[in-house]
Symmetry: C2
Subunit: 537 residues, 2 copies
């Protein structure tokens, strides 16, 4: 059977909300079983702690400042290569089932005459994926929405109303039939007004299994991309009351954080959801639902594993389980994500490589610093391709999976563009300078804030990241060191994407004269002598 990759992504799943990553009460036996069968990369960071740019980094294998899609719905420039562009030439179908949050560069496509209705145009518009089913999450009432078949599914299953995606899948219902909107945090504890098997996570799983069943004989990379546990925080029975206040881990926040905070933090504290998640009633309502959504995903992972096993595909399918970023859930006095504390920028990353070569590492936890962009070269290498390292900026994890990893990277980089964020925008004179860059070396985490002082945390003495040392002169040497690392990174070739190092060294780096262009010769004799010396014989 041909090789396959099942690339599972959750949305907004924190690194520490799994049994195998240490959560004391959440039940994720199927995900834990993946970790036992494969390798868990414990210190993996996203390239941007928000959906769109994080995903564009997963899909392009490039840093955010390289692919340029720096915030949600900032179009991915036409021509930027994605997983499908790298895998299709290896004979691999690269297929989407779920969320990408990609916005196509329609102006660029029009400029280049790429018709959306053509085969190539359809791929370009969908981040290089062959779309089996795409859903970027619940469409608000009245919005144009996205083309998921989930809407039709809900209708076919008899869900009525104007927008059952909202009113059934993402809302509860009161005893007298009133819709209890899942947008409102108070309703997080309600069961969603939908049969569990019709809710988004099982639906997406069913669709993925349908794909795998009809593509058994193909080589494929299936991106199974759940939109949960992302908000709206609401989950159908029996998951809605599987967890309670007693199962919640204690909030991680310190009064020190609120004293004279960095202007970036002060801005972020101003968000309505930051205020909301400071409230115990909010956390007590939301977090059990969030945990229920995760356990629901875990059950669906179980279904997938059963299917792969029964269909005989388990032994050739590499399985990835990860997330696009985390969720503060009240930690550090904040809700949502977007900044660089571990709650937001660190993700779970489990890879099960079915091959014999990986037997020695099964169950290992690897603490080398890992980046989301490492997946793309891993995939290319798994399918036997040569990694185009003039385009892909990550490093293949296959050597780690096979027990022969090279030296670990010295630091991870993560970026954030706050140009569209109302409570932060005032920190920058112009939209193009709204840039944050995290440099983390495994102990020291610096956040470079254009136009302001950097922030700095020492995770060895302050693992909870409560004390910002960025203004402390005693740590200027650390800041200098990490700034230099960032300078090294920023100077790299990020755009010489049309020629590989190998091609340059083999085909381009030669004396001018071999092209028939003769530079620096005085006369016929000199040229003749040179030609004799340089003759191929």
């Amino acid at each position: 059977m041909p090789k396959k990759i099942l690339f599972i992504m959750c949305d907004q799943l924190r690194f520490d909300y799994l049994g195998c990553t240490g959560h004391p009460s959440i039940k994720t036996p199927n995900i834990d079983a993946l970790a036992a069968r494969g390798v868990r990369f414990d210190r993996t960071y996203v390239q941007s702690p928000i959906c769109g740019p994080s995903r564009m980094s997963f899909y392009t294998g490039r840093y955010v400042r390289s692919h340029g899609s720096t915030w949600n719905s900032y179009p991915l420039r036409v021509g930027e290569m994605t997983l499908g562009d790298h895998l299709r030439p290896l004979g691999v179908r690269t297929v989407l089932c779920g969320k990408t949050h990609m916005r196509a560069d329609l102006e660029g496509m029009e400029r280049l005459g790429i018709d959306m209705s053509s085969d190539i145009g359809a791929l370009v518009a969908e981040c290089g994926f062959e779309v089996w089913d795409r859903s970027d999450g619940v469409v608000p009432d009245g919005a144009a929405g996205n083309p998921s078949k989930y809407k039709d599914h809900l209708r076919a299953r008899g869900y009525g109303g104007e927008n059952p995606w909202h009113s059934a899948a993402n809302s509860g219902k009161s005893d007298d039939g009133e819709i209890l909107s899942g947008w409102l945090l108070k309703h997080a504890a309600e069961p969603a007004a939908i049969a569990e098997e019709d809710s988004e996570t099982p639906y997406t799983t069913t669709r993925a299994i349908e794909f795998m069943e009809q593509a058994k004989d193909d080589s494929w990379c299936l991106h199974l991309s759940y939109i949960k546990p992302h908000w709206p925080y609401i989950v159908p029975a029996p998951y809605h009351d599987m967890y309670s206040e007693r199962d919640i881990i204690s909030v991680k926040r310190s009064d020190a954080e609120l004293k004279d905070p960095h202007p970036l933090m002060a801005g972020y504290y101003g968000y309505r959801y930051s205020h909301a998640f400071r409230r115990d009633d909010v956390r007590n309502a939301v977090i059990p639902a969030y945990m229920g959504l995760i356990t629901q995903i875990d059950d669906q992972i179980g279904r997938l594993m059963t299917y792969l096993k029964q269909s005989g595909q388990l032994d050739e399918t590499l399985i990835v389980f990860t997330s696009d970023h985390g969720d503060y859930l009240g930690d550090h006095w904040m809700g949502e994500k977007e900044l660089f504390h571990d709650q937001s920028a660190r993700i779970p990353m489990i890879i099960v490589d079915p091959s014999e070569g990986a037997d020695a590492t099964r169950g290992q936890v690897i603490t080398d610093l890992t980046e989301a962009i490492d997946l793309a070269p891993t995939f290319v290498e798994f399918f036997g391709g040569k990694v185009p390292d003039h385009i892909l900026e990550g490093r293949s994890l296959l050597p780690s999976l096979h027990g022969n990893a090279g030296p670990a990277r010295e630091y991870v980089i993560s970026e954030y563009d706050y140009s569209s964020r109302p409570h932060l925008r005032h920190l920058s004179p112009d939209a193009k300078s709204c840039l944050l860059t995290m440099v983390f070396d495994g102990r020291w985490k610096m956040i470079w804030v254009e136009g302001h002082r950097p922030m700095l945390y020492d995770l060895e003495t302050d693992p909870d990241e409560f004390n910002d040392l960025g203004a402390d002169e005693n740590h200027s040497a650390e800041i200098m060191r990490l700034s230099n690392a960032m300078f090294d990174w920023a100077r790299r070739q990020h755009n010489r994407v049309t020629l590989s190092d190998e091609k340059i060294d083999n085909d381009m780096c030669h004396d001018d004269a071999v092209e028939g262009v003769y530079l620096g010769f005085w006369d016929e004799d000199e040229l003749a002598a040179w030609k004799a010396d340089n003759s191929p014989d």
Copy 2:
């Protein structure tokens, strides 16, 4: 009559080989007249001191590390916008007559299904130009060549032999009819074996006038791109003996340069043409021919001006005269270009703006630091467009032309990728790190050499750039200051090219809730209160 731009570029023309830039003996009355009628930007630097990447910066308006075409024939990535993409929507034909040195990204075009034979494909493959005539210079014997109509012209004019482009236009002829190849420096003093009016510079001018004549009623930007005074250094009569040894300015080099040179310089000194240009006989043969080629261009500029005047187009045509880089001609013990001494990286830049608003600045010499990438936004603004400053990285020079320039830029950046250069390649462990970056603030010029110490020149105390202070600890503060400037530059958004700052500020930067996505509300009352407060009424 519609507005027009005549964008004249020479190839390998040094900044100081014009009468108006101070050369004591060269005759360039027509170019000097342009300077008198317009503004000469005295301190203009190219973005890379070699044809391909320099031109790609002129045409894209972006730094080399942004457009990614970092050396000759490194393909310009598909989708990278060029002058034509910016000007065509303003109703401007953007037309090529001469050289671009652009290599199309054929793999990218194929991936995106862009057919070279389509109208759009033809533009993409030709750097966004509508090709009136393209010629990248003499094609060596046996090479596939490029599609210039010049070949046909030579045949039609009766030039025989296998390759008259070489044997007539770029070679002399001995008394007994033997071809004296222009590739050989000894023959530089010979007259080219071609009637002057059939040689490349007049031919290209004639073609340009043909274009202008039939496009009088159009708005256009014509890139008239001479391949001279680039090698082969040979020129037809009467230019071949217009200058002699006595007209040559003295060579600028110092023994100090050869003592313990930076490894980059040592590598560069190893080139055959560096050795050649140390010889007096080489300089005495080549430089008069180089000067003749320049005066020939000057005469053709005179023809162009006469045509524009007689055809009534002078008053609406903005004229640019510039070059893609210089030529060492033996200075600093080197031939060719590629490094960052003024002989190589500094170019002439004259702009004549015909509009009344520019009357006050006619004849001015502006010493503000200027970059090649400043032309693209100048052109957009001249044609009434809004400068897309999320794509174009230069600054419009129109304010300077109109006497109301803002603050000058603090430093210029120029880059060089030596990954294809045999005598330098050993300085880097891999092709992607073969990067040089010049940062020049008008006094201090630092050359950052990846993996090696930087070089540093103080042009105030050492205007000839003989003393590399990069290893001198007394100047570490300057190096730090310029490195910080380079860090600032490297960190910028170079790739968020699909959304303008204006669009972000106007359309994207708003509270989530206006999209119908309600984050951080506890219950219906909170949401209703918020909606009441934020109602558009």
